[in-house]
């Protein structure tokens, strides 16, 4: 390294956050193990002190060796002590500028800045942490430079596009509804259970004596009839359900507080959070897939969720990576609002007006047969157990038979409704697939953004004259970005040809970091 050191340094408090991260990633499990393992009081203290010193030293080392500099067209980053790494991040390649600010960050007046390109995997630069003003300077510069540099000419040409436009803001009553509709309460409960199971002593802090309670209940159980026990259980269950929903509402109020989605030209920016502020951005031209989801509850309240997959989504990265990038366009919206939001982002797209075509007529039967693979053995097992296990009450077998018949009936109904509602459509550069029976979802993929496509034919497909189409895009989706089963073979080939034409006639630069503008 003969070059001069880049001038930019992280914020003086950076070492705290590096130390905390190291603590969370590696040191915490080891520390808990050592502290819990030791019985004497002196050991944990020494171990804790040594660990704290090591963590602080690590934090100082990491933050002191991180240097950066904003050059004319790129960001220069040099980091690492043992392995020194110098990276040049051209502004044009930065797809997403994400900021994250927890309570401690806000207390110290700092923020974490993460820059991502379209490449999957690690972010291009993680600046942990910067002063708020410096972060705003860098983020603002990146946002303006890359919008001007890389948006398609027509976006730049229209002066209105450069102005910031608010697309969505979610009021508090909608957040409460979101809390009721989503199941996030279980996250909080699971967290609580996890903490309690790790530290049994916490139970002693509660004003309830569990052992006495158990003893009391077994003593009195003999004298209470089954009806009363059932009643108590029902009340407990109801209480639990209410508690979970209340926690879910609280979770929504904290994490989604002041949710706003804004657009400036090609750039989308989303802010949310009460204690931890999240400020993430991404490019509309980097959209790989849009998914609308509706659970049965959502349908009852006429609401839906709109999600997006951007190029290079590091879904499989660290937990905070999943939480700190642009992945949701609208956590809750009425279908009409979702439709208008989609229209604003993808001109000409109207979900309702799309020419929806049903799947092949064999779809219902095949979908049902697919559930039979696991449902039939399960039901057989339940009925056999009810009939063969000695000592069960006499209602067990008829009860199991009724339940099995009900299960079979429901599965037939589900498959039939699934096939009746599932459909695909192609219009104006977008291929859409909607599916579901009770919970529903819509998947939208842009035909010019497919990396590759695959037409599959199983032996059954060949008999029925059908095929399935799978589309791969440039983001880390859990399953195939788009998978349409039970397609009439000729229609499947036609859909595939659309992707092929878009892929071969309007070439996306193979390093799709530049993205291609939405038409």
């Amino acid at each position: 390294m003969t070059d001069a050191l880049p001038a930019g340094r992280l914020h003086p408090w950076s070492w705290v956050f590096h130390a905390i991260r190291a603590l969370r990633e590696v040191a915490l499990p080891a520390l808990v193990f050592m502290v819990v393992g030791r019985k004497d009081a002196f050991g944990p203290l020494v171990v804790g002190a040594v660990a704290a010193i090591m963590l602080i030293a690590w934090g100082i080392l990491r933050s002191r060796t991180f240097r950066y500099e904003l050059l004319e067209r790129e960001l220069l980053v040099r980091e690492g002590f043992f392995v020194r790494e110098t990276r040049h991040v051209p502004f044009a390649r930065v797809q997403a500028v994400n900021e994250r600010q927890g309570p401690l960050h806000r207390l110290l007046g700092v923020t974490e800045l993460v820059l991502e390109s379209g490449a999957a995997g690690k972010p291009e630069a993680v600046m942990r942490v910067l002063g708020v003003a410096e972060a705003a300077r860098i983020a603002g510069m990146l946002r303006s430079v890359s919008t001007a540099d890389h948006a398609t000419p027509d976006v730049v040409a229209s002066p209105a596009a450069a102005a910031t436009q608010e697309l969505l803001r979610i009021p508090t009553d909608e957040l409460i509804l979101h809390g009721i509709l989503s199941n996030r309460g279980f996250v909080v409960i699971a967290l609580a259970f996890g903490i309690i199971s790790q530290n049994r002593e916490l139970l002693d802090l509660l004003p309830i004596d569990f052992k006495q309670l158990m003893k009391d209940s077994t003593d009195t159980a003999a004298g209470i009839d089954a009806g009363a026990i059932l009643g108590v259980l029902l009340v407990l269950l109801l209480g639990f359900v209410v508690l979970v929903r209340l926690l879910s509402i609280a979770f929504a109020l904290f994490t989604l507080h002041d949710f706003t989605l804004r657009r400036a030209g090609d750039r989308l920016r989303m802010n949310r959070g009460l204690l931890s502020r999240v400020d993430v951005s991404g490019r509309v031209s980097g959209f790989q897939r849009i998914v609308l989801e509706q659970s049965l509850l959502h349908r009852a309240f006429r609401r839906c969720v709109v999600k997006v997959d951007l190029a290079g989504a590091s879904l499989l990265g660290t937990p905070e990576a999943a939480d700190s990038r642009l992945d949701t366009l609208a956590p809750i919206a009425t279908p009409a609002r979702a439709r208008s939001l989609l229209q604003e982002l993808v001109p000409g797209l109207d979900l309702e007006a799309m020419p929806w075509q049903p799947l092949h007529r064999s779809a219902a039967v095949r979908r049902w047969q697919k559930t039979m693979w696991w449902l039939l053995p399960t039901l057989t097992l339940v009925v056999a157990a009810a009939g063969l296990i000695p000592g069960l009450p006499s209602v067990a077998l008829p009860g199991a038979l009724v339940a099995a018949t009900l299960g079979l009936g429901l599965s037939v109904m589900h498959a039939w409704q699934w096939a009746r509602w599932s459909a695909f459509a192609a219009s104006d550069g977008v291929i859409a697939f909607r599916s579901g029976a009770w919970a529903r979802q819509w998947t939208l993929v842009f035909d010019d953004r497919a990396q590759s496509t695959a037409l599959r034919r199983s032996p059954r497909d060949r008999r029925e004259g059908t095929a399935s189409l799978a589309v791969d895009v440039q983001s880390m989706t859990v399953s195939q970005a788009l998978h349409i089963p039970y397609l009439d073979a000729a229609l499947g080939e036609r859909l595939n040809a659309r992707f092929w034409r878009a892929g071969t006639s309007a070439p996306l630069p193979a390093d799709a970091h530049a993205g291609s503008g939405l038409r």
Binding site: G118, S452, T453, A454, R457, W500, G503, T504, D511
Partner: protein, 168 residues
């Protein structure tokens, strides 16, 4: 624009690869079966070894026959078409037929790979990579090495030409 098929030697390479898998599987299963025979069936070690060998041989023959049948079916279906300026279409799969469509404009990089067995049989593999996630690479196996290099160079030239068109 012609349909290309792998060289017949590829089937031999696949067979050798399968043979190695079967041998490896047997090496894992053999001691377990032998101990089970000794402990559960009260056989002496010698008798256990003989019976295990017979069982393993029968298993290997059945598995080998199934794999051989599958390999032949897969080989018969395996083909690809290079559509100049457009991309590559690959047909594969014995029972579950799969047709992969890969536009030239989506190719990220190309590898020509030659493993020891492939070298022995004068074959090469051309691997095509995209920026996708679930299907980021497609392999064209059983190519003549010179043809693999030629195809790679042709595709590279097309990629370059397309990029020039996009970013002059």
């Amino acid at each position: 624009m012609t349909v290309e098929r792998p060289l017949p030697a590829l089937l031999t390479v696949w067979r050798l690869r399968h043979l190695a898998w079967i041998a490896g599987g047997m090496a894992l299963v053999f001691p377990v079966l032998m101990v089970l025979g000794h402990e559960l069936l009260d056989l002496r070690w010698g008798a256990a070894a003989v019976r295990t060998a017979l069982v393993a041989l029968a298993g290997a023959v059945i598995a080998g026959a199934a794999i051989e049948w599958h390999a032949r079916a897969a080989f018969a279906r395996y083909s690809w078409t290079h559509l100049p300026e457009e991309g590559v279409v690959v047909h594969q799969g014995a029972w579950w037929h799969k047709e992969i469509w890969l536009p030239v404009s989506r190719l990220q990089h190309l590898d020509v790979v030659r493993g020891p067995i492939e070298r022995a049989y004068g074959l090469a593999t051309l691997a095509l990579f995209t920026a996708g996630y679930h299907q980021y690479s497609v392999r064209l196996e059983g190519l003549d090495p010179e043809h693999a290099l030629r195809l790679r160079d042709t595709l590279l030239a097309q990629i370059r030409a397309q990029r020039l068109r996009v970013e002059p």
